[in-house]
Symmetry: C2
Subunit: 181 residues, 2 copies
């Protein structure tokens, strides 16, 4: 059940648009991964958080694919690599990453995914493909604005918003048989 290979086709060179482009399209995933790690380091330097071995490894594991992983899936990987094998090990690392904007928690999946552009302070919307389980982040400002309008009328003070869409990514919509595992 555990795979450690990146899942992305390594085809097209990295461009600036990758920063805002969803993860469904083929792309140079090792660069995608490396950039996210770099930006994560920058962000931590600003915020004062410490990037320890468990935390770094946890982030790397999440970055291997554009999927969300359960805490126990991450834990198995960490345990296999010599870190602790008890749930709090994984939960603490994941919580740290989420708090510092380096990863996201997917409420619908009870799972976690690496943030793909941690440089920005953002609360994105998520697109979750129900066929291949891949995940994309979208800038959610317009959506949040629409919600804030509605909530404002009621006097409710919105603090955090969860916006998660389930559906089919372009590849899986074309080839429902199983475009990409």
């Amino acid at each position: 059940m555990i795979t450690s290979q990146p899942e992305c086709d390594k085809v097209t060179p990295l461009t600036d648009t990758d920063r805002t482009t969803p993860a469904f399209a083929p792309h140079d995933h090792s660069a995608c991964e490396a950039r996210a790690l770099d930006e994560a380091a920058d962000r931590l330097a600003e915020q004062g958080g410490r990037m320890t071995p468990v935390r770094r490894r946890t982030l790397e594991i999440l970055l291997e694919s554009h999927r969300a992983m359960g805490a126990y899936e991450v834990l198995d990987r960490l345990a296999a690599e010599g870190f602790g094998r008890q749930p709090p090990v994984a939960y603490r690392a994941l919580e740290f990453l989420v708090e510092h904007g380096l990863a996201h928690r997917l409420q619908r999946l009870n799972a976690f995914a690496a943030c793909l552009h941690p440089g920005h302070d953002h609360a994105p919307a998520f697109l979750i493909c129900r066929a291949c389980d891949k995940l994309a982040e979208l800038p959610a400002a317009p959506v949040r604005a629409a919600l804030a309008d509605l909530a404002g009328e009621t006097g409710f003070a919105v603090e955090r918003v969860t916006i998660e869409a389930v559906g089919l990514c372009p590849a899986c919509a074309e080839n429902p048989a199983g475009a990409e595992a």
Copy 2:
């Protein structure tokens, strides 16, 4: 931990605007409850579902408050009233209610809440007060539209959307000490 009293102030008479007004404001909760049950019965009649004792009681329990309840909290109540005391009893009743549009599942809370206007076929947005745990439904069409726009650009076919906001309801924003338990 288990309370069976409705939590709402029983003050103002029911008006048509209650249908679209969030649940944070004081209102005649017994009427609110009764209407939701009526509309639920109507909806089931249309759809062919059977309103059995467990299901009805489960819906009534959810309707007692404008909060979301965990499946085990519901189960405790059901067990105390002579229904089965095993998890599937609660999960099946809750699943039935959700499938028939009579209740909602709150992803952020891993919990369930009665739908307040089951007559409409809707996928609302939720406002969750982090202080008093009360819950309101908002018509989410504008929000979903904004999201569909963004997702459409990427070729992603959105099927279902979760929109849940956490924050402070008007009462708790004014009186952070503990406006209403």
